[in-house]
């Protein structure tokens, strides 16, 4: 499986990563070689094998419905690049 510049651009867009034009060929090369490595999986027949998402066969534990978190807006917003009136600001969103 080999990726060309157009596919790299498409993936980068989906992942919201700005990639410099000049870096695209290197990414295309690297990603292609990773996919080649990954393609070794095809060597084994996994028909009938259930996918395993977690190594241990544990099930979800449930939390009691209780409010445990206090307001820490000031703490959290001190980390933010741009806030106003308690809101996080982003460039205008058009729906």
């Amino acid at each position: 499986m080999s990726l060309g510049p157009a596919e790299v651009a498409k993936i980068a867009h989906l992942a919201r990563l700005a990639i410099a034009e000049s870096d695209v060929p290197a990414y295309a090369r690297n990603l292609s070689s990773i996919l080649e490595l990954v393609a070794r999986m095809d060597a084994v027949d996994t028909t009938g094998v259930e996918p395993l998402a977690h190594p241990l066969d544990m099930v979800q534990r449930l939390r009691a419905d209780e409010v445990t978190e206090a307001d820490r807006r000031d703490d959290f917003q001190s980390l933010a690049p741009q806030v106003e009136a308690g809101l996080y600001l982003v460039p205008r969103v058009i729906e």
């Binding site: 998402a53 099930v59 959290f76 600001l89 969103v93």
Partner: protein, 478 residues
């Protein structure tokens, strides 16, 4: 050419938990921006979700209420996309294995007949925050208080064939979730929202047409209008030789139109996969049985019981069971009155509903409890009050002047049933209007009403109307 609409609804109900679905932050509506968004809701680095038991229990209750299958094992998945109101860059939802599947409910159509609507699935997920588009120097503000509020997304089969059916279905789901106490049902605050998938096809066709998804519909009225507009738009498009494009459209209630959503223009690739921070949700039979035991009587069953036990018409029973508190009030009223459900029903749907409506109150906020209303109805039943007087007493009791007996005593409103007293008034009235009496006897029978009016006026409305009728008739023949 005849067209038929094919509609499926995705209803998002906010579950009425105290804390969020994956964090211990509060879910209360209307707080200062971002004061109810904890580290987990904000998607800070290193935080992890843990599932709220109550949200799961509520989903199970809904599933049981619509005769659905409760999945013994369901899986939380991540839906990946970037948006400012989605802090983690993914929404935790359920995808391949939802907690509820294969349900159904019956809606009542305009002609009184019922139609069964399939519920494909209902799954748990987290709500997103809100983008505020007021102008912050040309920027958008993001409030993440709502992020992580538990949602149950209820997806119908494309079984609906008109905007009216869609509204009936939406109202039915609303009624059920409010009955179950799993959603506050507040459409204005966004606790109950709806997306509609709409397509049209030629009548008789079996294949579906291309559908458009309409987002952002948050009232029953808008659902009807948005769908009607969308159907019209698609029919016009097709009749003009055009094609419907599969897209997401936004309903704009101000302009009463749907338009394509800019933010959804590019085809999304959500890259769903099982959330590795969460484990499979397993619900055993005991857990489902506990939820079943906690189920309240549901609207359909209650309606049937009202018809059966109280001898009400299906229409009355439907109106009385529209909301759980209204039906509860009715049952308490019947018990307090000691029978005569029909009278209770008429008053509930008549005077009482009108008074609530005038005051803009929900039944739960009524100044008049069932016992007080029963007091009025008891005096009506035992003949103390005429219907007219009962209305006057009701208004006074509603206004807080005391219970029925206190109002009757204070205002001297006891009905006159002593036939001697009524007869005296009747005689007086006839004597005072000899000309009309003569005309009546000459055949102008419509004058009877005039005499009734005069007698009631003279008795200040207190004379028993039936006795007035009987005595007047006898005397006038005279």
């Amino acid at each position: 050419m005849e067209w038929e609409a094919v509609i499926g609804l995705e209803i998002h109900t906010q579950l009425a938990t105290k804390s969020k679905i994956f964090s211990g932050a509060p879910t209360a509506y209307g707080a200062e921006p971002n004061t109810q968004a904890c580290a987990i809701d904000l998607g800070l680095p290193g935080v992890l979700p843990v599932v709220n038991a109550e949200a799961v229990r509520m989903a199970v209750m809904f599933g049981l209420a619509v005769d659905a299958t409760i999945a013994p094992r369901s899986v939380f998945a991540r839906k990946n996309y970037f948006y400012p109101d989605l802090p983690k860059g993914y929404q935790i939802s359920q995808y391949e294995l939802p907690v509820v599947a294969h349900g159904r409910l019956d809606i009542t159509l305009a002609d009184g007949s019922h139609k069964r609507i399939g519920i494909t699935r209902a799954h748990l997920e987290e709500d997103a925050g809100k983008s505020l588009h007021e102008d912050f120097h040309g920027m958008t503000g993001v409030d993440l208080n709502r992020a992580g509020t538990p949602l149950l997304e209820i997806v119908s089969e494309p079984d609906l064939r008109s905007a009216q059916e869609a509204v009936a279905y939406m109202k039915k789901v609303h009624q059920i979730v409010v009955y179950l106490g799993i959603c506050d049902g507040n459409l204005q605050e966004g606790s109950f929202r709806c997306d509609a998938n709409v397509s049209v096809r030629r009548k008789g066709a079996t294949a579906f047409g291309t559908r458009a998804e309409i987002k952002n519909i948050n009232s029953f009225r808008f659902v009807e209008r948005a769908i009607e507009h969308e159907i019209e738009r698609q029919v016009e498009l097709l009749e003009g030789g055009g094609q419907v494009v599969q897209e997401t459209r936004l309903y704009d209630p101000d302009r009463d139109e749907t338009r394509p959503m800019r933010s959804k223009e590019e085809a999304n690739d959500y890259r769903y996969f099982p959330d590795p921070d969460l484990l499979p949700l397993e619900l055993d039979a005991a857990c489902v049985a506990a939820a079943r035991a906690a189920l309240p009587e549901l609207p359909d069953a209650r309606r049937a019981r009202f018809v059966e036990a109280f001898g009400l018409s299906p229409q009355d029973a439907e109106a009385l069971t529209a909301s759980r508190p209204f039906a509860d009030y009715f049952e308490a009223l019947v018990a307090a009155v000691g029978g005569d459900a029909k009278l209770c029903a008429n008053w509930m749907m008549g005077e009482f509903a009108a008074a609530l409506n005038r005051a803009g109150l929900d039944v739960t906020a009524s100044p008049l409890g069932p016992a007080r209303l029963a007091g009025v109805l008891q005096r009506l039943r035992d003949g103390t009050l005429s219907g007219k007087l009962a209305k006057e007493v009701f208004d006074a009791v509603w206004a807080g002047e005391g219970d029925a007996d206190a109002v009757i005593a204070a205002r001297g409103l006891r009905q006159i049933t002593d036939s001697g007293a009524i007869e005296a008034i009747v005689a007086e009235v006839i004597a005072a209007h000899p000309k009309q009496a003569e005309q009546y006897r000459a055949g102008q029978e419509k004058l009877f009403g005039f005499f009734v009016g005069q007698v009631m006026k003279a008795s200040r409305g207190k004379a028993n109307p039936q006795q007035v009728n009987d005595l007047l008739a006898a005397r006038l023949k005279g």
